[in-house]
């Protein structure tokens, strides 16, 4: 079942130095119980895409686009109804849980508050549900831990608390923005495993935002690759890794030092990401692309269907159509 559909989402920020085109014409779909990976380098618009879905863009403007959640248009919803969806039906966890938890309340208190607000239950019921949730996310001796303040927990435990809070309302969509980036590798793999478990239990769709292609390969069913505010390729995870089409995706995959084989020289993508305030006409990737041709400088490529569920935004593939 299609749970969330994003079409032509465009978000801009107006700064003194010019208009920042943070997210430009982004479209994707999320299916029930599946994970969509959103991958790209810092500043490519991954997080802004997620925040736009949640309508949490106070400094900027969602210029155009549709976000359709179970048939409802989120971008047009009155704020009151949006509040019920935000955190209730679509929940979000962030990279640094310490910044998302209130330092002066115990973690138990904060989870109970979320439950009471969204589920309108009594405090008593909420409290026993909270203990169950802490147990579910693998926090040892949940009764005692519920009385802890965020700073008393380790990074991994804090992320578990965030996950407990996020799933407390049984959301249909979980947006996870770099959930393991701040964690050590052995802890990160525990958190990923926990997310997988909870997904199969609650049939959530997960939007997994990360810069780590390894995490994508482990977790995602489908992948959207972002570059300079746009989706350049979107494909089923197996296809993307086996046969990447967009030159940027190819470049990214070639850049990875293989943990299994040892190379003598790493391939790189020359140059760096263009300034989002001052994007070139034509393709955003033209300066760094080894296959750039004249048309790349002149016209903007669009995301086209190249078969087997793969979409790519590159002139090399548009000619064939």
């Amino acid at each position: 079942m299609k749970v969330l559909e994003v079409r032509g989402l465009t978000t801009r920020f107006y700064t003194l130095e010019g208009v920042v085109k943070a997210v430009e014409n982004v479209s994707f779909e999320m299916w029930g119980g599946k994970t969509l990976g959103l991958v790209g380098e810092s500043g490519c618009g991954k997080t802004v895409t997620a925040l736009s879905i949640m309508r949490l863009i106070p400094q900027g403007e969602i210029v155009s686009g549709n976000v359709r959640y179970k048939g409802r248009e989120l971008l047009k919803l009155p704020e009151g109804e949006m509040r019920r969806i935000r955190g209730g039906e679509i929940a979000m966890i962030f990279q640094e849980p310490l910044l998302s938890l209130n330092p002066v309340f115990t973690i138990g208190n904060q989870i109970v508050e979320a439950i009471v607000v969204h589920k309108r239950t009594s405090r008593m019921e909420a409290e026993s549900f909270m203990i169950k949730l802490l147990e579910l996310v693998g926090i040892p001796s949940p009764r005692e831990m519920a009385g802890c303040y965020p700073h008393q927990l380790s990074g991994g435990m804090r992320q578990r608390v965030m996950i407990a809070m996020a799933i407390s309302t049984q959301p249909s969509v979980l947006i996870a923005d770099e959930p393991t980036t701040a964690l050590d590798v052995t802890i990160a793999s525990q958190i990923l495993e926990l997310m997988r478990e909870l997904q199969s239990k609650f049939k959530m769709s997960i939007l997994l935002i990360t810069h780590d292609l390894g995490v994508i390969a482990e977790m995602a069913d489908a992948v959207a690759v972002m570059y300079a505010g746009e989706i350049v390729e979107c494909a089923e995870v197996g296809h993307l890794f086996k046969k990447p089409l967009h030159p940027y995706t190819k470049g990214l995959l070639e850049c990875l030092p293989d943990p299994v084989r040892r190379e003598t020289y790493l391939k790189t993508i020359p140059g760096h990401v263009p300034d989002l305030r001052n994007l070139p006409s034509g393709c955003n990737f033209q300066d760094r692309c080894p296959y750039a041709i004249q048309v790349c400088k002149e016209a903007k490529p669009h995301l086209v269907d190249v078969g087997s569920g793969t979409f790519v935004s590159c002139h090399l593939y548009q000619e064939e159509l």
Binding site: Q190, L253, R262, T268
Partner: protein, 332 residues
């Protein structure tokens, strides 16, 4: 003779108690020994809080150890006079994780390099300008960059500047503390390639501190795996990745997400978390998380022993093939 030789290094940080007086120590580094040869890369890997960075600081003489010695080219770092120390520091430089935090925002790149070059009298005063340009070229920056300020550069370029500053004194050893973890994938490769290139050109040795094992595999010849202030395994990089011996190293390797959906794994994950380095730790440091833990592991600390040629591990379950223990082994 090794360029750098670290011997039973310990660093305990005293803890201020809740009220008055000290209430114990954080044993950040607790008896670490290794050697780095000239022109080679020795990597220290481990999770946060394992003591990697503290080892880096100790090696550079930026912290005084609680116990143990550091020899650089045969000289005992902590028994040198101030002038001698200053002279030796020229030969050992550092590159940090966040280049923006370690560059002066009010100084141009050229100004910074020139200051370093003239302060240490690396070249004659009239050659300073030319040498600064030469160094920039060496790290892949255009000479025009010298009149710009750090904020005008991207993250990757800033790391190049930090590297330029480190090599300007013609060091023999660079301690690189997570030099690429703040960088994006497409840029990370550029910096790793640069580090390798410079190593060959200038015969540099690196003490490379990192948590990313894929990066470590690319850059280093030998690796030491740290956990709670101790080395649990030391080996050639290839050996360590092909045939890890210590249960922790095995767990660490299998926890890396591999960028290949076909190799998606579901095998046993390491449970629990690293305990903190407070108080008395008895037995093997890893015993609280080890899936193979025995009674003996909780009681007795295993020494780091040579299990195979040039492959050291500290674990009771590993039977050494040739039983000669690591020089000055870990036993107390």
């Amino acid at each position: 003779m090794s360029l750098l030789s670290v011997n039973q290094l310990k660093k305990y940080f005293p803890l201020r108690g809740r009220f008055l007086g000290s209430s114990g120590y954080i044993r950040a580094v607790d008896g670490v020994s290794f050697k780095v040869n000239s022109g080679e890369t020795f990597a220290l890997v481990g999770e946060s809080g394992s003591g990697k960075t503290t080892v880096g600081f100790l090696v550079l003489g930026l912290l005084r150890p609680t116990e143990g010695e550091v020899y650089f080219k045969g000289e005992d770092l902590f028994n040198l006079r101030v002038e001698e120390m200053r002279r030796i520091r020229r030969s050992m430089q550092m590159v940090f994780q966040d280049p923006y935090g370690s560059l002066n925002p009010r100084q141009t790149v050229g100004g910074m390099l020139k200051e370093v070059l003239s302060f240490h009298h690396v070249v004659e005063p009239d050659l300073v300008e030319g040498r600064a340009e030469e160094i920039l070229r060496l790290v892949g920056l255009k000479p025009v960059c010298k009149s710009r300020y750090p904020h005008e550069f991207s993250g990757g370029e800033r790391q190049r500047i930090a590297i330029a500053r480190a090599i300007s004194l013609e060091p023999e050893l660079i301690v690189a503390d997570e030099p690429v973890s703040a960088l994006d994938v497409s840029i990370r490769g550029q910096i790793l390639n640069l580090l390798r290139e410079l190593q060959e050109k200038l015969n540099l040795a690196y003490l490379f501190i990192a948590h990313d094992l894929a990066v470590v595999r690319f850059i280093s010849q030998r690796v030491g795996v740290m956990y709670l202030g101790k080395l649990l395994e030391v080996a050639d990089t290839e050996k360590l990745f092909k045939k890890p011996l210590h249960p922790y190293t095995k767990a660490l390797l299998s926890a890396i997400p591999i960028p290949d959906p076909g190799r998606r794994k579901k095998e046993d994950l390491l449970s629990g978390e690293m305990p903190d380095a407070l108080g008395k730790l008895s037995g093997c440091r890893f015993s609280s998380r080890c899936p193979y833990v025995r009674e003996k592991c909780r009681r007795e600390e295993p020494p780091l022993v040579e299990v195979e040629e040039d492959h050291f591990a500290a674990c009771h379950l590993i039977k050494p093939q040739a039983v000669d223990s690591y020089s000055d082994s870990d036993s107390r």
